[in-house]
């Protein structure tokens, strides 16, 4: 990783996301033990070896009491900068079942990062035949999850909660916000707990990682999409190293963005969200 990523691209900080404990059908004791081991492994084998690395707390998310215990256990280690959950689980991620995890994360000052993957059998349109549909569909799943998160009221209930939607693309956000706001106007009676427009909750609570960044023929369209959703200070650069659809730190963001936005996405937004020391970052 040093040779291929950190040194090669002059990366100042890299956040590890270890997905191997993200299946939701494990035995609870095994799930808790496995995720705890994953975190210990991160600490011993990775974080201790390179000060550029940061970890994320893997948890047995289907068993919130066990997940909360693991968050408490790791909370004193500042190198763990977020709590990691999959983007798909037994229930929708806005379900109150998972709120204790979100409350613990917020209490310990950690965002919750939802990473593409996890349970894959919720398929309102049926199961796709090909990896192509499945992979494009990761962005679609996250749209549905963000709808669940907003509609279920978790941002209203947990004011300190910050979430990071990871590896799901970014350009779809604006269209979803318009739909959420329009639908909320129509059925406000149905959502007495939502005191603000859905887009306001998203604005205050939601960050997105960039990979796989959408690539319209006209790069200006991507900038439109980011501006439409007011995501300029909410985007966090990600490579998805070491996967085939890796986004290069030096090439993925179109030049048309201009340097201030590129810099915000490449480093400023993440420094602010995770409270990372900025001494390391070369101006």
């Amino acid at each position: 990783m040093r040779a291929q990523l950190l040194d090669e691209y002059d990366v100042d900080y890299a956040v590890l996301e270890v997905l191997s404990g993200q299946d939701c059908y494990d035995h609870p004791d095994f799930a808790a033990e496995w995720n705890s081991a994953v975190n210990e492994w991160q600490a011993q084998e990775w974080l201790s070896f390179d000060s550029r690395l940061r970890g994320t707390i893997a948890v047995a998310h289907e068993y919130p009491d066990l997940a909360v215990a693991e968050i408490e256990r790791r909370s004193g280690d500042e190198r763990f900068v977020a709590v990691l959950l999959p983007a798909s689980a037994a229930e929708q991620l806005g379900s109150r079942k998972y709120w204790p995890i979100y409350e613990a994360a917020a209490a310990f000052g950690r965002p919750v990062a939802f990473h593409t993957g996890g349970y894959v059998d919720h398929r309102g349109a049926g199961y796709p035949s090909f990896y192509l549909d499945y992979h494009v569909g990761n962005g679609i799943v996250m749209q549905s999850q963000l709808t669940s998160m907003v509609a279920g009221g978790m941002f209203e209930a947990i004011p300190g909660l910050r979430v990071v939607l990871t590896e799901c693309g970014v350009a779809w956000a604006a269209a979803l916000l318009w739909s959420l706001d329009a639908a909320w106007e129509l059925v406000r009676d149905d959502h007495p707990r939502l005191e603000r427009r859905p887009s306001e909750y998203v604005r205050d609570h939601v960050w997105f990682t960039t990979q796989p960044i959408e690539e319209p023929d006209d790069p200006q369209h991507l900038i439109h999409a980011i501006e439409q959703a007011r995501l300029g200070d909410r985007l966090l650069f990600a490579t998805d190293y070491p996967h085939w659809d890796f986004d290069s730190p030096s090439q993925a963001l179109p030049r048309a963005m201009g340097e201030p936005l590129r810099r915000a996405i490449r480093c400023e937004n993440a420094l602010a969200l995770y409270g990372l020391p900025r001494e390391r970052v070369v101006e």
Binding site: H122, A125, P128, H135, I140, G152, A175, W178, S179
Partner: protein, 358 residues
């Protein structure tokens, strides 16, 4: 063909988003629904009448599931509908979307709905067209139903629910598209569908808002399926109209679809062109809901990015409400483009001329 009718398009559209359908517009999505299965009894065999009566099967869900603010149940008779009619109108009856896993029952109900729509509505007003509904359980039964009634020119498309067990592009479903094209029909993909499994790609929902907006992500999954399964290579004349699922999501979806296809195209060698090219050629989207940005300049961006207003075709979705996006949209496009959205796109899709079919 659209010259005379298009002249009052803007008024018509404002009208459409408020109380009424539009003169000079083809309204691609107006709902009707029987109040109870008993209304379908004239079109069901004695066996199914008994089956319904003795088992106490009731219509449920769709027609009455809407919370306050979204609209009343769909009209169940021509008299109830007729006050609303202004121009050429495509009726969509979703009653069969919610039937059962019993394939024989699903086929019988689909046939009964088509006969009911024909007798109760189509025979009574030459402005009316309708979608042909089919079994969503058995593609074979769907083909039989298309062959049974598809030659009637008043049926303009085969209507499929956006929720499905298999994505609609799957090879198991291609016989439906072959039958549709043989009968000169297009395909409509309409919001909603059978309950019983998660209606979204992320799990079960707990509120109407989630169900309602859940139609949009699964419509996106269906768009991917039609392209990746090679449907349009096999049926180059097929057009798919996506109804009541929005459209502002289209451009970002295609950006990612094209990008991923460039990486893994070998998995789907029958996809010969960039996915976005198939979508822009073969898909159209109705204007209800038009969930758009509050800022007018941004509306221009959305239209430009998705491929222009030619991708859109007008629908009121009577009697349901979706907010006031449509007037804002029509306000941002040229007169010629308005005529396209209100009339031309649908006329081309469905082969409709100005003179109603007698």
């Amino acid at each position: 063909m659209s010259e005379t009718n298009g002249a009052n398009g803007a008024n018509g559209a404002n009208d459409a988003t408020g109380a009424n359908g539009a003169n000079g517009a083809i309204d691609c999505d107006v709902h009707c629904a029987p109040e109870a299965y008993e209304a379908l009894f004239p079109y069901l065999s004695e066996y199914w009448r008994q089956y319904i009566a003795e088992a106490g099967i009731r219509l449920n869900g769709l027609a009455y599931a809407y919370p306050r603010g979204v609209g009343p149940p769909a009209p169940s008779s021509y008299d109830a509908l007729s006050k609303r009619l202004r121009g050429v109108t495509v009726l969509n009856c979703l009653t069969g979307f919610e039937t059962h896993r019993n394939a024989y029952f699903a086929a019988a109900v689909a046939s009964a709905v088509n006969d009911w729509v024909r007798e109760e509505f189509l025979t009574r007003d030459s402005r009316l067209r309708a979608s042909l509904v089919v079994s969503t359980v058995s593609p074979g039964d769907a083909v039989s139903e298309i062959e049974r009634v598809g030659e009637d020119p008043r049926f303009v498309q085969v209507l499929l629910p956006v929720r499905s067990d298999l994505p609609w592009g799957h090879k198991e479903n291609h016989a439906i598209f072959a039958a549709a094209r043989s009968a000169g029909l297009q395909v409509g993909l309409h919001a909603w569908g059978r309950a019983g499994k998660a209606p979204t790609p992320s799990g079960f929902t707990t509120t109407y808002l989630e169900d309602y907006l859940g139609n949009q992500p699964i419509a996106q999954a269906q768009v991917l399926s039609f392209v990746s399964e090679g449907v349009f290579e096999r049926f180059p004349d097929l057009r798919v109209v996506v109804l009541e699922c929005g459209f502002a999501w289209l451009a970002p979806l295609l950006w990612r679809f094209d990008k991923d296809w460039k990486g893994v195209w070998r998995e789907v060698p029958w996809v010969k062109r960039r996915p976005s090219e198939y979508v822009r050629e073969h898909f159209r989207f109705t204007t209800a809901p038009a969930h758009l940005p509050p800022d007018a300049d941004r509306i221009d961006q959305v239209l430009e990015m998705m491929g222009g207003p030619g991708m859109l075709t007008y629908a009121s979705d009577y009697p349901h409400r979706h907010g006031d996006g449509l007037p804002a949209l029509l306000d941002r496009i040229s007169e010629a483009q308005r005529r396209g959205v209100l009339w031309g796109t649908a006329a081309e899709l469905y082969g409709l001329t100005e003179a109603p079919i007698r």
